[in-house]
Amino acid sequence: MTLQQGVFDGFAVLTLGSALLVVTQRQILHCALWLIATLGAIAGFYVLLGADFLAAAQVLLYIGGVMVIMLFVIMLSHVPLVPQESVKNAQWLPALLACGLTVIGFGWTIGRVSWYGQELPIATNRGEIFEPTTASLGQLLLTELALPFELVSLVLVAALVGAVFFTRRPES
């Protein structure tokens, strides 16, 4: 029971616990705060997996950006302090069954594959590798993945144009 396993278990409990609360909380703003806790725990997982740039990106982008917008929309849309209508809609039972089947299906498949239970990384028989990733990511993004790198800017422009279009006051 190494320290790494202990920290992993802590993050796992935090992630799944707050994720459950995100989908069951009545007050929408509390859902958003629990989602922030989940995103933080997942940033912790990235650190445990040696992806330090990704952990910073997750905190900078998801928690510092997307969740800020989510809180803006919640505050601008006057969600009542004590919501009246129930959290779940009519089809929650079939939804629960569907999700249960999905989880069991995935679990069953990873149980059957060949490398189940293998300890060390398959490709390299040395221990885990923890090295700074920003430089190699930059090298990869700008040489081999140059095309998706440029397409991303087009996606961002499209997102911005669409969002500005929707939030502009209709000139009625």
Binding site: V7, G44, L76, A135, L137, F149, L156, V157, V164
Partner: protein, 118 residues
């Protein structure tokens, strides 16, 4: 590398413990006042008018929206900046194209008077 991030986790933990400790200390030391009137939302002394959730304008959303788009952009500029020297001039022009396209997005938002308030 994991040892560094354990240190960061300690930083966050210690900050939280310090904050909660100060709260508990204040809870022990502070005076108790149970006058309900002190718990009325503060509105320069006059009786509060209307519900606290007053109708707010949408214009604040535009800035958070632009922030996310350009925050994503900085996320791509940082890995380039770190390896800009070995990459040479090709990487630089690639980045200039990336920045130019997003600069157009900023001009679009500017021309669409996203910043002017009626």
């Amino acid at each position: 590398m994991l040892q560094q991030y354990a240190h960061v986790l300690l930083f966050v933990g210690l900050g939280t413990i310090f904050a909660l400790g100060a709260f508990v200390l204040s809870f022990l030391l502070r005076e108790r006042g149970h006058d309900p009137r002190t718990r009325v939302p503060y509105e320069c002394g006059v009786e509060p008018v209307g519900t606290p959730r007053v109708r707010l304008n949408v214009r604040f959303y535009i800035f958070a929206l632009l922030f996310v788009i350009f925050d994503v952009e900085t996320l791509y500029i940082y890995p380039w900046a770190v390896v800009a020297r070995p990459l040479g001039i090709a990487g630089f022009w690639e980045m200039v194209v990336f920045i130019a396209i997003l600069f157009l997005a900023l001009l679009y938002a500017w021309r669409k008077e996203a910043f002017r308030w009626e």
